[in-house]
Symmetry: C2
Subunit: 463 residues, 2 copies
């Protein structure tokens, strides 16, 4: 395969690529608003038609209890070749407040190198570069089929929580059997600093209720002589972290896959501006977290405990001098590679039980399940292969990031039992989920180029 | 003065006393409900008429911005004799839920020794025994005027917060000039264990707001790397007490008048049943408070800090994985003898400022003013005199209690600059503020007897 041929193929089809993408972007496939259900279906149908047109031998609409997904398969010539699932989504976020858009979110506009419209980056644009890349690879290699079997799965409910996605995966588990999963729904550090995500934090959530007296008591008559559940809650919640910002649950860090020196070095090479980051964090006044880790390490690769909500007693205007009868808190844990949500749940329940003072009764309600963290080590064969493809496309070293939150990726890893590889060219500045979402067209073309090289790299790595 | 003559006088007029009280109790002087404003005035007028009838040379209705008070004066013969203000109130609590009353709250009923009706104990009955006692004392001594000048002040807004009471005191400060204030609006330990209250806790209230980012942040993207205001609030509030249950504000205990060994001994002699007390405290599961003090000492004679309310972040159903942008808490301090609400306010503001972590902004809003604690040492001349009067009436040792909360008493002490003496015969079991309020008629008559002895005891003590 000649690099020049791949680039030449992509450049030659650039206008058509953008024109087709604009057509798709014009369909308002907002999955979170029932009023757009027909549009989400239209989006799936449009994509299915496009994929057939582009040569996918198998294209299907997969129904769910909610919005439909699109499945397309392009088998390798060699029946023993590895198979790779490519994941993306065709639904988009709502567009409110509409008056803050400079252009109609569903009338995509090109401004210089940018394409502006809802879904341009998240995730239609990033789904779209795969077909162009695949065809460029085929053209350059002169083959009729890719070196791995490609199984493109484009769901329609990601922006509304992927509610039926795990069911969908289980229903089609056999057909989705694969050796790796390529995720194209993340971002790169910046246009100048191409990067790959290697993991996402998991999650488990709990609600704690502490009960004292059977009713609110007058603090004049009883204050100072009976336990105050709010006081007990403050003590409990304050004990969840030590002075070094570490979570105090026994065994919490035992299973954590530690950051390697190499990964820390690579993180450190990202041109991170903490002041700008704090500004993006709601103008936070200072960084704060686990001692011994940088801000990026804290949000990407370290587990955390957060109080998401807390309440009890008199919360209205004015004073009410009571000892409240109960106190509540919502707590969530972000989990990283190696941690099991169920183990953390058990540890938290036991810890609350143990730390609840005499005279107060505790109840812990865990949200069932939780989200497992997902992680692909930077020295794993598929990550190394994808990195080579990205480096060939960008002509420069590709660094690594992670993401602090999670979508349906852990389901893919769990149900399909295959390693995840994140190949994406969106930017943090693409304003995804916000007004005036855009994508950089040259980066989408770089994405196509990387996708052109990806399959031969993975074919070697996964064999 | 002969004891027998006092008792004989009171017994002879017992029926008339109860009949008159029943007439007064039939007036629904609910100060908290504007619909009863006319009745509160009628109650004041009825009392004024009664006091004139009973021989008070001066009787006046004192207007306020709210409900009227009644003022009656009976000067001593000797113009140099001490003057004593007697405080009570003629308004009553609402009666809801009406269906839980066994009889009409405003159609007083005698059942055996009990008189049942709203205000029977709190506070009409306790105001009422003073006139009978005063007349019994005069009759027994054969004098036309009491040995001290008596200034009876019966307000009409106690059950709705005594909102205009301080103004009333300031307006009539000269006429209310006195050497002591007798308060008849508290309770005794029990019918078998007569006691006197010697102090009430003061109060100061604050609301604390901690601010972090300018908006709620996604805990996946930012959690673990910026300060969480709810976490900071938990740490702050948990630091308000040490492991021994003591309040950690610097200097908080510096001005506290310590309990004397004698007072602790007398408290300890009260037949206190902690299990029953816990049951009355909303079935609290355990006593809890400052180390080294009993439950009674904790609620009566030790200052406290209570979290009355706390809230922030997501408090609705389900989960929301955010780092909340702010957190709130309402805190109140009960204060005891020697403590100054303003000093505690300043200490709290400084403490919050000092203990707020980097990256979080704190705001403290104190409720202006606060309530000063009031306290009369058990060895003070007026308390000793009143105790003698009570012991003569009850024929047994009189013990001491205090109260954990406060009404307008501190205003009386502050504006009139005179010591308070609590003389009352209500019981904790009188169901004041509740349904089926009652008073024990024999205790009201004991109150009248104590009042008969009180003025000569005080005349000697205050001279
Ligand atoms: Zn997306
Ligand atoms: Zn009262």
């Amino acid at each position: 395969m000649q690099v020049n041929e791949v680039v030449a193929y992509i450049q030659a089809r650039k206008d058509r690529f953008v024109a087709d993408l604009r057509e798709w972007l014009a369909i308002p496939s907002i999955s979170g608003d029932p009023a757009y259900a027909g549009d989400v279906r239209r989006s799936a149908e449009w994509l299915a038609g496009h994929l057939s047109e582009q040569g996918f031998p198998t294209v299907e609409i997969w129904e769910t209890q909610g919005h439909p997904a699109v499945y397309a398969e392009w088998p390798a010539e060699d029946p023993d070749a590895p198979a790779v699932v490519v994941y993306g989504h065709h639904d988009v976020q709502p567009v409110e407040p509409l008056e803050e858009w400079d252009t109609d979110p569903f009338k995509p506009v090109e401004k210089g190198d940018r394409l502006i419209g809802r879904g341009a980056s998240d995730d239609k644009g990033q789904v779209f570069f795969h077909t162009l890349g695949l065809r460029a690879g085929l053209a350059a290699s002169g083959r009729a089929a890719p070196p791995v079997t490609i199984k493109l799965l484009v769901e329609g409910e990601e922006e509304s929580g992927s509610v039926h996605f795990a069911d969908l995966l289980h229903a089609h588990r056999d057909r989705l059997a694969c050796d790796a999963v390529v995720i194209s729904d993340t971002t790169m550090w910046s246009a100048d600093v191409p990067s790959m995500c290697t993991g996402m934090r998991g999650l488990t959530e709990a609600e704690v209720t502490l009960r004292g007296p059977s009713r609110d008591l007058h603090s004049g008559s009883f204050g100072g002589a009976v336990p105050n559940p709010l006081q007990a809650m403050a003590v409990l919640m304050s004990a969840l972290h030590d002075a070094d910002g570490r979570v105090t649950l026994p065994g919490f860090y035992d299973d954590v896959v530690p950051l390697t020196d190499e990964e820390r070095d690579l993180f450190a090479r990202l041109p991170f501006n903490e002041d700008e980051w704090l500004q993006s964090a709601g103008d936070s006044r200072a960084a704060h977290g686990e001692k011994g880790y940088t801000t990026l390490e804290r949000i990407w690769a370290r587990p955390t405990a957060e109080i998401n909500g807390m309440w009890g007693g008199h919360t209205g205007p004015g004073g009410k001098t009571i000892v409240p009868h109960e106190a509540h808190a919502k707590v969530s844990f972000r989990l990283v590679a190696g941690q099991d949500p169920r183990k953390v749940q058990q540890a938290f329940e036991a810890w609350v039980e143990e730390h609840t003072p005499n005279g107060v009764e505790a109840e812990v309600r865990m949200q069932p399940g939780g989200v497992r963290p997902c992680f692909s080590p930077i020295d794993s064969p598929s990550v190394k292969a994808a990195r080579r493809a990205m480096e060939r496309a960008f002509g420069t070293e590709v660094l690594f990031t992670r993401e602090g939150g999670s979508g349906p990726e852990a389901d893919l890893a769990d149900v399909l039992e295959a390693p995840l590889v994140f190949v994406a060219v969106g930017l943090n500045g693409d304003r995804i989920h916000a007004t005036n979402e855009k994508v950089e067209i040259p980066l989408l073309l770089k994405g196509a180029e990387a996708a052109a090289y990806l399959w031969e790299e993975l074919a070697v790595a996964l064999r």
